[in-house]
Amino acid sequence: MQEKNSTIKKNKYDLKSIKDAIGFSSFTSALMAIFLGLIVGFIVMLAAKPSSALAGFQNVVFGGFGRIGDVFYYATPILMTGLAVGFAFKMGLFNIGASGQYTMGMFFALYVGFMWDLPSSIHWIVAVLAGMIGGMLWGFVPGFFKAVLNVNEVITSIMFNYIGMYLVDMWIQASPVMYVSNKTRTKYLPADVQIPSLGIPGSNVNLGIILAILIAIVLYIVLQKTTFGYELKATGLNKHASEYAGMKGKRNIILTMVIAGGLSGLGGAFAILAPSGIAGSSMTYEPINIIAANGFNGMAVALLGNSHPIGIIFSAIFISHIQRGGTLASLVGYKPEIIDVVIAVIIYFSAFAMIMNTAVANFFKKRFGKNHDDNTALEVQSTESNIKQASDNNIREAE
């Protein structure tokens, strides 16, 4: 059958290879989701306050461009937590514990910052590494339980969000060196623990974003080029086949969760060790029993970036961008929460963007004849099978 059609196939081959090469379909579906999310966001804004909807919407979409430094600064922690969620997801693990790992990373970084007396040239580096180790510890536990006792990582990691957060709050409040009780926050960190700034005026953007992007690229290489990445993806795509092929599933589960935890922990360290624009001050942590939102934003980032490290770089920057724009929308009388609505809608659409993609493709197919017939049909099929596979997995999980 295939040989017969090879002549017809030839010209499609090129198009197909482009699509494969850059994850074209997930890219277009992300764009689609963003587009639809913005439209719905605009409608929401229109409903809330019609008179300034246009101005507010302009702020949301373009406002970030005026504050590029801040966009990158706020993108740093969610890029890291996004990588933490996406990386684990490649193995089929749903790491909901990014918040706890992030908070732990923050605490470890703070601890080194306040308690250890180190040469100022390496102090911040050690603090960042300590943050990574803190996150790793918090990733290790759910991974260990999953691998050895087959406890669902979703449950463990949710609980570890709370355990981590309360522990950190408790430790910080108990430490007079770190805590200023009448201000319910940590003291200002010494300047030598703060990550070097990139020197963009009016912004706290620092070396963290560059490190984060480098880490994403390293993860990409690990996933694509190494035997570990090969095993990890195989396990995520088909657990049974990876077992059949003799891969060490348990070891890989633990390793993946430790790496994911480390990534979140780095995110926490990057956030708390960021330099402050005002001399003599620093970022602070407030032990007020709230789970770090950046962990959950990481899930949104990972979803929008299709769990692909490079995709996550862009989705983190994008989400940070409209968040910045959202705060600007308050200038024309909107609550900044409006932007959370828009982000939520975008994530919502990205969850079934693949289907939307197909629907649009079918629309074009009908209008412009049979040109793209085969490709769209292929997508329909693969989407269907993806959905089917996903639901199968769910059923199996449920069992």
């Binding site: 080029k225 035997t227 059949y244 693969s382």
Partner: protein, 518 residues
């Protein structure tokens, strides 16, 4: 003009790169058994899915009693009286037989289930057609044959008059097959019309009135079965002559490669019960030993324990003199075990990996394919191309084809290529021809014999009687987790094998051990 109950006229259905059904016309007469014959990927399932409302055709029309109908989903099909027994049964395991039969059409009064009404109707139907079932048994407890009867009763309960059977005999014993064919004849006599999808020519010759043959999505023709022969049908199906028997030389049996002693495996379904009970046997180099039996008699559990996917409860496994009872899967593989798994989608392949990535699934960690943890993609590509060439694995884009998009036969070829090209002394092949067409089956059998002739040991686990009889050098029959007989395919008959498989006949363990020593 003859009266047709269902007509599918000029049906065309396209998929990416493939026209699954190309202008196919199928006419079903009232009260006939109409066989639909074709290789895998010939378009039989697609055509039936169109009739059952699972796919919409790109062209053509369906008529019932001469009137054009549109079937948008299985409910429409059901309303038109079309019922289907799927190859993989669609039953709720933890429901009773009765509950499964009435599922979706429960008789009720103001929302309250009228179990009694349902039960009476089911019992009446089951007596009328000789479909013995226990209405209160749970599906998970009953045999595959009885599950199939439940599926048939489901169709009858819905008063379907057009019955589609999708490869119904694949899971049955010879005796059960005979029974089923009788039941089908009974239906036809009643005036019900039957579409019978199968690869098995013998069954077509036995029951079918007419036969439509598909090849590569095209309709080759419809013939009256009484005017044709098996050879002609197979030529129509494959497009060339096929040898039905496997050519093989006398085995040159060498040393013991695999030795299993007193192996027991706990059952997953039933607590306190063993799925495999005290199994002992040897497989020597240069012979094909076949583990025969009806599905669900402990073969799967045995293979899991043998290959390391599951732990045995007791007993020992020795491969080439090395105890591997507790070895990891990777260590077994290194020790020389290759495994063609029963379920190629679950275990055998990562479907969303490229073909080349699947071809190195057992070897990616070897120095040939990796250096310091980095995969040598050039070496992988080169190796994949070599295997694709050597084993004639066909796909649309060669090494970079997504495995999911390949046909079942070529997926199986990929697994066989991977498992047999790797260093091995023992090949465990579990239902290697499941779901494959005649041409591919011939290929797989040739490969198995070639592996045997190269001095390796082969343990074949099979449900197909023809395969058991043709390919193997020695047959071990497994029934309810025990080995109940050792047979020589040259001296035994299919009927005798069937008696062992259904548990009607068995030798004592002592006799078997004596036979093994000879």
């Amino acid at each position: 003009m003859e009266k047709y109950i269902i007509e599918m006229i000029n049906i065309t259905k396209k998929f990416p790169g493939i026209i699954a059904n190309d202008n196919i016309t199928l006419r079903l007469k009232k009260g006939e058994i109409h066989a639909l014959l074709g290789e895998n990927g010939a378009g039989k399932s697609t055509l039936m899915s169109v009739l059952f409302g699972l796919y919409q055709p790109d062209g053509g029309e369906i008529r019932k009693n001469g009137k054009v109908v549109k079937i948008n989903n299985p409910n429409d099909a059901n309303d038109l009286g079309i019922g289907m027994v799927h190859q993989h049964f669609k039953l709720v395991e933890i429901f009773t037989v009765l509950e499964n039969i009435i599922l979706g059409v429960e008789p009720n009064k103001m929302g309250f289930l009228q179990r009694k009404v349902a039960r009476e109707k089911v019992i009446e139907l089951s007596e009328k057609y000789g479909l013995r079932v226990d209405p209160d048994a749970l599906i998970e407890d009953i045999s595959v044959g009885m599950q199939q009867r439940v599926e048939i009763l489901k169709m009858l309960y819905r008063d379907n008059e057009i019955l589609i059977f999708d490869e119904p005999t694949a899971v049955l014993t010879p005796q059960e097959i005979k029974e089923l064919l009788q039941i089908m004849k009974g239906f036809a006599k009643e005036g019900k019309s039957i579409l019978f999808i199968t690869h098995k020519l013998n069954e077509i010759m036995e029951v079918a009135d007419r036969c439509t043959v598909l090849r590569k999505g095209k309709c080759i023709g419809t013939v009256d079965v009484k005017d044709t022969t098996k050879e002609e049908l197979s030529r129509m199906m494959v497009g060339r002559d096929i040898s039905f028997s496997v050519d093989k030389k006398e085995p040159k049996v060498g040393d013991v490669v695999l030795s299993v002693r007193n192996l027991s495996v706990a059952s997953k379904l039933h607590k306190n019960k063993d799925a495999v009970k005290n199994v002992s046997f040897d497989v020597r180099a240069g012979e094909i030993v076949c583990l025969a039996g009806i599905e669900g008699n402990g073969q799967t559990e045995f293979v899991y324990a043998l290959t390391g996917l599951d732990k045995p409860k007791s007993g020992s496994i020795t491969l080439c003199g090395k105890d591997i009872t507790k070895a990891s899967i990777r260590d077994r593989s290194i020790a020389g075990m290759s495994h063609i798994p029963e379920d190629r989608h679950k275990h055998g392949l990562v479907l969303d990996y490229k073909l080349e990535e699947n071809l190195v699934l057992q070897r990616y960690w070897q120095p040939e394919f990796q250096k310091a943890g980095f995969i040598k993609f050039d070496a992988v590509r080169e190796y994949a191309e070599k295997l694709i060439d050597k084993f004639d694995i066909r796909s649309s884009q060669g090494p970079v084809t997504m495995t999911r998009s390949m046909s079942g036969g070529n997926q199986q070829k990929a697994i066989i290529a991977r498992e047999t090209d790797k260093e091995h002394k023992l090949l465990v092949a579990v239902q290697p021809t499941r779901g494959l067409d005649v041409g591919a089956i011939e290929y797989v059998h040739k490969q198995l014999v070639a592996i045997r002739d190269s001095g390796k040991a082969v343990l074949l686990v099979s449900l197909e009687l023809d395969e058991v009889m043709d390919v193997s050098d020695r047959i071990l029959v497994m029934y309810e987790g025990e080995i109940v007989g050792e047979l020589d395919p040259k001296t035994t008959t299919v009927e005798e094998l069937g008696l062992y498989m259904s548990g009607a006949k068995r030798d004592t363990v002592k006799e078997i051990n004596d036979a093994g020593k000879k």
